[in-house]
Point group: C2
Chain length 451, copies 2
């Protein structure tokens, strides 16, 4: 906040970098937060970036690296030796961030960097964290935490906490464990402020505590942190031993990425892409769904061509295919979006039949509303015959009800089978609606108009 990065500032910085004027650069960046400097880096070449990184203090450099986009960071890290990465970057990071960075390196460099870490304790912790799946609590957690034994007095606890706190910047929770390292509670900073020095930790700690297991999925971790309004959540192993802690900032990334992924899937984009990605990457993410949509379009064409002879008499029916399809498509997307979102935030309860019944009613209501308007417009403006108007309206209601039910059923069905329901939205449902919609339309036409 509070700092506006202007074009003039960037131009001046580039100039100073070209002049290799270390002093001026340091002065310019002095008051900036690493996250702001990382934003500035978007405007610099990798060579310029590495010049700046080398100038700044290791701690700042490490923070800047963490804030960069993955691809920019990878490029930049290629400019550094394993030793430099270990001593100047990894050494300054919390273990969870260090693991994220190391995971982005090539297999060979990974081993080299770990071998170069001077703090053997940190190296061990990193190696431990590396073996956890990225999408679980183990993959999110860091080893930086403060724990006190329940048998300690508050004064001993303070002494130990000072020692433990040396390695990292911020302390938010104090965890209480027993002699077996089993997590039994927390000590709030407030308790800590208001308790006399000789009190035993075991007498004042809070034993109501939320925790997650090492293999809890990252989405469940995020849900727990949000549900219980936590700043961090401790991670335990199968024996309830405290092994790490996950902070809310890591979880916000999970929440954001999930929401973005669902949104993109609904929009027919198969990978998590960014508007700044290359055309090739964007095409790879977008073309598959377009192909599926194309097959839907061709499928609809092939159904229509089956009615071809009859349709030569009723060309007018073909004019309303877009109306039928867009209505079915819109209803299908609406229904599935609500269900997918409900499944994602856990608000969907109750049986599937009750829900389908509700969607049926909803589709019927919306369908009748639209059909009525269409009846009037087709009859008075397009001047279609009574039977053609009737065909269009009956088909509209049928197609909308059908789309509402399919849009509800497919995500719930997939979710029950363990498949991410978000993949079903967007083009998938639209495509099945395209084909089914046309089929229903012309079948109804055949019945009413008798061709």
């Amino acid at each position: 906040m509070n700092i506006e990065i202007t074009k003039e500032f960037i131009d001046l910085l580039s100039e100073k970098i070209n002049e290799q004027n270390a002093k001026a650069i340091k002065e310019m960046l002095e008051g900036l937060h690493p996250a702001d400097i990382a934003e500035l880096f978007d405007e610099l070449s990798t060579k310029e970036q590495s010049f700046v990184i080398n100038l700044l203090e290791n701690e700042t450099s490490a923070d800047i690296l963490l804030e960069l986009e993955e691809e920019d960071r990878k490029k930049l890290l290629l400019k550094f030796s394993a030793k430099e990465i270990a001593n100047e970057v990894i050494n300054e990071m919390d273990t969870d961030d260090a693991v994220d960075i190391i995971n982005e390196l090539s297999e060979r460099k990974k081993v080299e960097v770990i071998a170069q870490i001077e703090d053997k304790e940190q190296a061990k912790e990193i190696v431990e964290l590396l073996r956890y799946d990225e999408d679980t609590a183990g993959g999110l957690m860091g080893k930086e935490l403060i724990k006190v034994n329940k048998n300690w007095s508050v004064v001993t606890a303070i002494k130990q906490m000072r020692k433990q706190a040396e390695d990292f910047e911020e302390v938010f929770s104090i965890y209480v464990v027993d002699d077996e390292d089993v997590l039994i509670g927390t000590l709030s900073l407030k308790k800590f402020l208001t308790t006399s020095a000789n009190t035993k930790v075991g007498d004042v700690y809070n034993d109501k505590i939320q925790y997650v297991y090492i293999n809890t999925s990252n989405v469940e971790v995020a849900n727990a942190i949000v549900k219980y309004d936590l700043y961090e959540i401790p991670v335990v192993d199968e024996l309830m031993r405290l092994v790490g802690v996950i902070t809310v900032d890591d979880v916000i990334d999970v929440i954001r990425e999930n929401a973005e992924e669902d949104y993109q899937l609904a929009a027919g984009i198969t990978q998590n892409v960014d508007s700044d990605d290359s055309i090739w990457k964007l095409t790879k993410a977008r073309l598959p769904w377009l192909m599926i949509g194309m097959l839907g379009g061709l499928g609809a064409a092939s159904i229509m061509s089956g009615f071809e002879t009859a349709l030569e008499k009723y060309t007018i029916l073909l004019m309303f295919v877009p109306l039928i399809q867009s209505s079915a498509g819109n209803v299908g997307i609406q229904s599935s979006a609500i269900v997918v979102q409900g499944l994602a935030n856990g608000s969907i309860k109750g049986g599937i039949f009750k829900r389908l019944g509700k969607e049926f009613l909803l589709g019927l209501l919306n369908g009748l509303g639209i059909a009525l308007v269409v009846l009037l417009i087709t009859h008075f403006i397009f001047g279609t015959t009574y039977y053609v108007s009737l065909t269009i309206c009956v088909a509209l209601v049928a197609v909308i009800v059908n789309a509402a039910i399919i849009g509800t059923f497919i995500p719930i069905f997939l979710n029950g089978r363990g498949v991410d329901p978000a993949v079903s939205t967007g083009p998938f449902i639209t495509t099945s609606n395209d084909i089914l919609g046309v089929f229903i339309y012309f079948t109804i036409a055949k019945v009413i108009l008798g061709f």
Copy 2:
């Protein structure tokens, strides 16, 4: 976490409530987190809920109320008098939560409740907070914070902090102000653990601090907290005086709601609805977009009827309308989703022309890919003539490029005009594509086939 709410548990609880067995109910709920009890409440009637609320301690009751859905909370609060709400609910809450609850009351009850608040200091703070816009930092912030004067010694600071901390549960940051109450920095818990008692606060505080102004929008507040990985952010007035603090949990709600809203808008749902809302509310949220989509379909029909006589000769062209439209629709949604998301998370930079150029290329690439496949399929499977196949393929490329450009341009244009770009996605872009797509298709047909 860690507690599974079973059907048996709920049945037993209902039974005990019917028996008015206070002791058994208290025992059953003893170990549960208020957020879990709130989840249980979904299964209880308002009458049962109010019985339980009256049984539990005020602090727990207040926490449960905060976790309920707004509508359930409103219903439940109708069962309580203004005095009960003030003494048993508001009294136990942080000011930001208290304000949220009070804002949900009727104007009359609002005044009554505020008049009944016994802690006059809290009442004043609540009245102050009530005047801020809900969507700004002022509307999100609470007054619970710990501040120390830079001229105090650490030992004085501790004494004052104990006093300030009495009213609330958790303490995460210690803010440092000068004699004018101007925010000048923070004191980390770590510093606090490792500094001797006689040191002056002014000598050890950290003057690098992120803050927001009272009228900063909630989305900007969220972005700042995420960008700088903060647990809370202080709020200052125009004179830089510290007036409140916003915690990350409040901001997570903002992030979630925004993501859900964007997603729903893209799916053509105009209000923030839930799958459990009434059919009437869902219809109100869904029907408007369906009507717009309907107009698009009728618009397409009216364009086609303009070509009617020609089309009697080329009925085959009409069969491929769904293909043209679904391709245009899918590309339009993909393009706009990426742009909307980029605008939401601030990753969109650079000029609009560069971006349009990129989308043009992307559309061309995807369009040519699809057109090639369609060319082969129409020619060999549908047996269309060379000119008809050519018409379809040229139209496909033109329509896809057009959709990509529109899908990119509209959100950026709206955003520049201060309109939420998310409203433009979904049915809006689909509908304009429906009409334009058909128009482009038949215009190209006219040129190539010469009707």
